[in-house]
Symmetry: C2
Subunit: 128 residues, 2 copies
DNA sequence: CGCTTTCATTTCGGGTCCGTTATATTCCGG
DNA sequence: CCGGAATATAACGGACCCGAAATGAAAGCG
């Protein structure tokens, strides 16, 4: 094998390993979520939730819709669902009463803490 | 970065995740999935798909249902949906015609390759 | 052979999510 | 102060998912 070929093979092997590990991680976490029956959030909902908790406030319906590239009713409905679960709350923006400010809750923070711990746990269990 | 370093980094990415990094990774990947309008799979569907592609065959409806801890109709319906998307195929087990063998497809493998690459990409962008 | 078991699917009623469209409220500029 | 713009939500219809129960098809077994 020429050096260039070895170099290529080395890179590809490394990339494949990374991708393989990533996919195993994705599988392990999702399997745990399904088996533990802890998850009924859609991809959009989990995206909204993590956006609220990780990106700087304030968060509005319009802002979240733009950030995610979805329509506003998607945000409103997701907030209805996750609000009923206690994961987020809403309040009117008194400065501009057309706006709704989405806020975090203790329960929502705990939910994401558990999710993060699950990802860490499954990452640690990955075969080397 | 030398290939060996890339290899190490790939492993460390999975092993050394901290909770805050794990949550940021989860957020970044989901945000990309939503923004890029990738086929919207449920948590159960993505779990079924990765199970088919990562765990040793053969895969049957009954086996997948037991592995995931869900009812068989959940598997049948998910296979209908993902089959229509071309991500998996089904065939009768000729040895025992009651069984259905679930098989991988090129399209399904490409889908998971892209997903894995996305996870790797977002992991690489994480703050250290 | 019949009877039972096993496996997968279909059916059923209820629920949620989606995009589109329509509505209500609030702000703002002339 | 008033008509238009902006914001969020509600209403509508179609699609999908769910669990439980019913159905269909094949194998096992006495």
């Amino acid at each position: 094998m020429r050096p260039a070929e070895a170099h290529e093979a080395g890179l590809l092997m490394a990339v494949e390993l990374r991708a393989s590990q990533a996919l195993k991680l994705w599988h392990a976490v999702h399997l745990a979520l399904v088996r533990d029956d802890v998850h009924d959030l859609t991809v959009r909902q989990i995206t909204i939730l993590t956006t609220i908790y990780l990106e700087p406030p304030p968060h509005t319906v319009r802002g979240l819709a733009a950030r995610l590239g979805v329509t506003k009713p998607v945000i409103t409905r997701a907030l209805n669902t996750m609000g009923a679960m206690g994961l987020v709350t809403r309040r009117r923006d008194e400065a501009d009463r057309r706006n709704v400010i989405i806020q975090r809750t203790v329960e929502g923070a705990l939910y994401l803490d558990r999710l993060a711990d699950l990802v860490v746990e499954k990452a640690a269990e990955l075969p080397r």
